[in-house]
Symmetry: C2
Subunit: 612 residues, 2 copies
């Protein structure tokens, strides 16, 4: 049961298509600030991270699931093999790709980091989040820390000598972060004494690094209630001496670790800070009461990371189901169903299995395109930083697409894994095959780093109306331009026209939402927020899939008959048509349900939900 | 982690409403053939089975999940407490409710048995299926066995001294049952020598009964291939001597047990028959090659049982989420969201939590109404057996509703459990709370006893056209009569009119399906079968929820202000309005996607699914 067999699968051709053919990654490669990163370097990373995922992290995925973590005498022990993989991960440089060169990083585009993350998370999400959060914590220090803090922490956090966490949640403060009670008292030397309990801390303790740098949200004595009174502190597990060596323990203890539905290889800890009044933290940067904004740097990154986890796991589940469907023989072809002696065929031949696989394929490809579109906007914003208008446009799309990607990708990942189990049939329910673990692991993606409803509220409550709705209008404008340019495409034209109509319906629904805000009917907003997010995600994905199909048709036309890429390109057409004919029409239905302004969920009396 | 705490919840008021107020159970109570069953007896069973579920089976549900089963020296050991619960189950008579009085049963309506099953399965599905299948196997012998077989097996199978299984699946024969290779050789004494391997055998071995009676599908030497060549055999684990005592072992061995995503308390076995050529079976009844039809007696029952499992688990997950939402305080009321010092409220106050709960409530109530409607049709067919026309109508509805209930209830159960986790937030992902187990357990429901696609094909390929589509037309006719009678209802009228239009769209989609059959375009059928089933289920459920709301409005009007039932009845209105405004419109969208006759899933070349 625990033998180390890789079950991770990835389709490198697909990733190359999305990055280079659809999203034109080469536009920004080989130029400042990414001058040392060209197509060859990207290809090399792709090949190597795939090998790493198959050989190192992939085989440990079921091991982590079966063994889980162990808390012994206050120390967390990770599953067998994790510690060794951690060393290899950092030796290979996978966690410093996008970090600045000053901090020991490689200065690669964010998109490249996302690509590596797709493999790390897809092959072993439980393992990947330890180092993912450590990197995220390091980036907060890189952005907001003092020079001294950067000097003291960053190199060791980017090279894996030290781990890192984000500590927001408390028993009474989950989605309601502002209810945090952890206290920071000013000490005479400018440091702070920290005390409080944090829960759900991923990698709150482990045996893979010699120290762990916690970023802790706490309220300085006398600070106002709510998120505005929170400050962010660097609280190492072991104190750092003046000469940079490790000092004494910093009074951070592990209360317990959780037993979970999935990602069992990841240690989810209860952390007690300052039980003995000896826990010392330093403020990130020099300003008090701005912790929430600083933490958002990490949170935004973490949200994108969850989208990528979702993508990696869903993609591998799909490819595993596909392989099973190719190998498993069962039943005869539908045209011979009456002939009991007919040849048994691979289940891939059965229409419903094909439907499930194409459904998964189009969803996985769709979320991949959406996520890399997001990361590419981020990179273009960086590359075009001197051009306010351009950079503003790209930043705006990042703002819009972050909650959409986190929420939609995580919901779809669960759906794709569920479908993968169904393709496997009874075998899918067994631990012998990888898909049931994918499904269990994926369930947390819709919850952590801000539940999907929090994402939806971020979208409709903040992002949609931001700067006079300018980002949203740009989004609709981009779709409109695509529709105008290609609505008479010989193969895709009708579906592109449907996309145009859907995009108009989406715009109308957004107007309706804004109307509720303006007329003070704000209770309607949370009722429909998730649905609106889904509508926007599905419209965006239909657009990207249709654009991908258009690009593929063009590329295919130049290839000789029998070229291996022709089938690949044809696949793009079928993904796009399936999605636009089976999923996209749902956007109209959802828009229609918005129009009924159904208030039943608010109007039902509390005691009417059940008599128990 | 394994302490025995009940986490099962049920709402008895709701069940009474569905049985007596909505579906008029009293019509058939107190009369032949159910003369000894009146309202009081039903109420007593309800009270007692609820107590049994909370006190006996419920507390063992997490225990079974954590411990799982153990195979030691060829014997399966069930989790701690299961054996004792088995005795109590049979002592209480829960497994003989609907059995004939001749066989030690109590002759109760099938609906009453279903009701008891809802509690047994909802509180502990892994435990309930052992005895559920044993009862199903006994019913096959009761229906098709010789008098002697009935005499030899039934009393001990209905009283729990012996268990029972159904053995269909083989490594190469899952959905394709006809590919079974297990062989039966005629012996001179009229018995048969059985040899072969069966997999996925629920309760294939266990320590709760002194013997296990396997019903085995096998092919008698020389029989034709496919399902038509299969015969059904009674193959006891230990042979039965002439005097009815247990004889020697019958060469049935357990190859292994499976490690699964859920229902860990249920032993899923690989069984080897006749490894030493000493396995003897007797034909069920006297006719060879009719095994598949006989097994269908059990399968139909098992399909309804899966629908009930789905209902029981989903209902308990909903009620657990509701309780958590009532108790867990987090965040302030939406009208005070800017005030960081505002009182923290139970999360039930938050619109999105209410939306999730009402969504779950309406789905759970909907599948409950659908399932009891089915069982009530079965009982009415029994009660009206002498009236061919009436009995035929009721039988026809059972035929239609069986695949719909199995498939839709199991899909919805998974959806409801997923939503329950989301209501719990991060806590839902922990084993400390019951919902993650519900979700893992529920995943198998869409697969076993015929995958949901097999159900959908049964519906569109067999049931829809049966007897000139007479059953389907009666179904639409019933909805039409409801719409005609109540479309000007003061509260529900508009929604009832929408139901009428939806029902017309459903009829049109059915015509489209029949058209594909007639024009030989049968490959379209499996592509849309699942979706059509969903459309039909959602139409039926909207109808039942609206009817329930109508009944509730009438009942409520007679009650004094402040009566406890008023809130309960109001809940019915909100379930109906929510479902008809948020779920039912999806039927139109699905109908629209059928019209596009999208063939992408068939047209995509095999090699275009991925390059790996």
């Amino acid at each position: 049961m625990t033998q180390a067999v890789n079950r991770f699968k990835a389709d490198l051709r697909e990733i190359r298509f999305v990055l280079f053919e659809l999203l034109k990654f080469e536009d920004i490669l080989g130029k400042q600030p990414f001058a040392s990163w060209g197509r060859d370097e990207v290809d090399m990373v792709l090949t190597e991270i795939d090998r790493f995922a198959r050989e190192v992290t992939g085989p440990l995925n079921p091991v982590g699931d079966r063994h889980g973590c162990r808390l012994e005498k206050g120390h967390v022990f990770t599953p067998p093999g994790f510690k060794d993989a951690w060393s290899k991960l950092y030796e290979a440089g996978w966690r410093s790709l996008s970090a600045a060169e000053d901090h020991g990083g490689q200065g690669a585009p964010f998109t490249l980091n996302a690509m590596a993350e797709e493999f790390l998370c897809g092959s072993n999400p439980a393992f990947a989040i330890y180092s993912g959060l450590a990197t995220g914590a390091a980036e907060v220090i890189a952005t907001f820390g003092t020079k001294e803090q950067q000097h003291n922490y960053l190199v060791n956090m980017f090279n894996g000598k030290w781990g890192g966490t984000m500590c927001l949640t408390e028993p009474q403060a989950g989605s309601d972060v502002g209810a945090a009670k952890t206290v920071a008292k000013r000490l005479p030397d400018g440091l702070y004494s920290i005390s409080g309990t944090k829960i759900f801390i991923t990698g709150g303790d482990h045996d893979m690094a010699e120290n762990i740098v916690h970023l802790v949200l706490a309220r300085i004595e006398g600070a106002p209630p709510g998120t505005k009174g929170l400050s962010l502190f660097i609280v190492p597990k072991r104190r750092i001496s003046a000469d940079g060596t490790l000092g004494e323990d910093n009074d951070v203890s592990v209360g317990s670790i959780e037993h979970k539905m999935g990602i069992n290889g990841s240690a989810t800890c209860v952390l007690n800070f300052g039980e003995n009044d000896r826990c010392v933290g330093e403020l990130v940067g020099t300003q008090e009461h701005v912790g929430m904004g600083q933490m958002f740097k990490l949170m935004n990154g973490a949200r994108i990371a969850v989208a990528i986890q979702s993508l990696g796991v869903a993609s591998s589940a799909y490819l595993n189901a596909l392989q099973y469907a190719r190998e498993r023989r069962q039943g005869s072809h539908i045209t011979q169903w009456k002939d009991a002696s007919a040849e048994r065929v691979p289940i891939l031949m059965h229409p419903d299995v094909r439907r499930m696989l194409l459904d998964m394929k189009s969803r996985v490809e769709g979320i991949r395109m959406l996520i890399y579109k997001l990361t590419m906007h981020e990179d273009r914003a960086t590359a075009l930083a001197s051009d306010d208008k351009q950079a503003g446009y790209h930043h705006g799309q990042v703002e819009l697409l972050t909650p959409i990607s986190k929420s939609y990708a995580s919901d779809q990942a669960f759906r794709v894994c569920e479908t993968a189990i169904q393709v496997f049939g009874g075998a899918g329910f067994l631990k012998d095959h990888p898909v049931e673990q994918c499904c269990r692991d994926a369930k947390i993606f819709s919850i952590y780093e801000g539940t999907n409803h929090i994402q939806a509220m971020d979208l409709v409550g903040r992002k949609l109306g931001m700067q006079g709705s300018q980002h949203f209008r740009a989004f609709l404008g981009d779709i409109g331009a695509f529709v105008a340019a290609h609505s008479s495409h010989p193969v895709l034209g009708n579906d592109i026209k449907s996309l145009g109509k859907t995009s108009e319906a989406l715009g109308a629904s957004a107007m309706q939402l804004l109307g509720w805000f303006q007329s003070g009917r704000i209770a309607m907003v949370p009722l429909v927020a998730n649905r609106f997010l889904e509508m926007m995600a599905e419209t965006a994905i239909a657009w990207l899939l249709l654009d991908a199909a258009r690009v593929a048709e063009e590329a295919s036309a130049t290839l000789p008959e029998g070229h291996a890429d022709r089938a690949f390109y044809q696949g793009k057409r079928h993904s796009a048509l399936y999605y636009s004919r089976n999923v996209l029409p749902g956007v109209f239905y959802k828009a229609k349900t918005l129009q009924t302004e159904d208030l039943s969920a608010l109007e039902i009396p509390d005691e009417a939900f059940a008599t128990v």
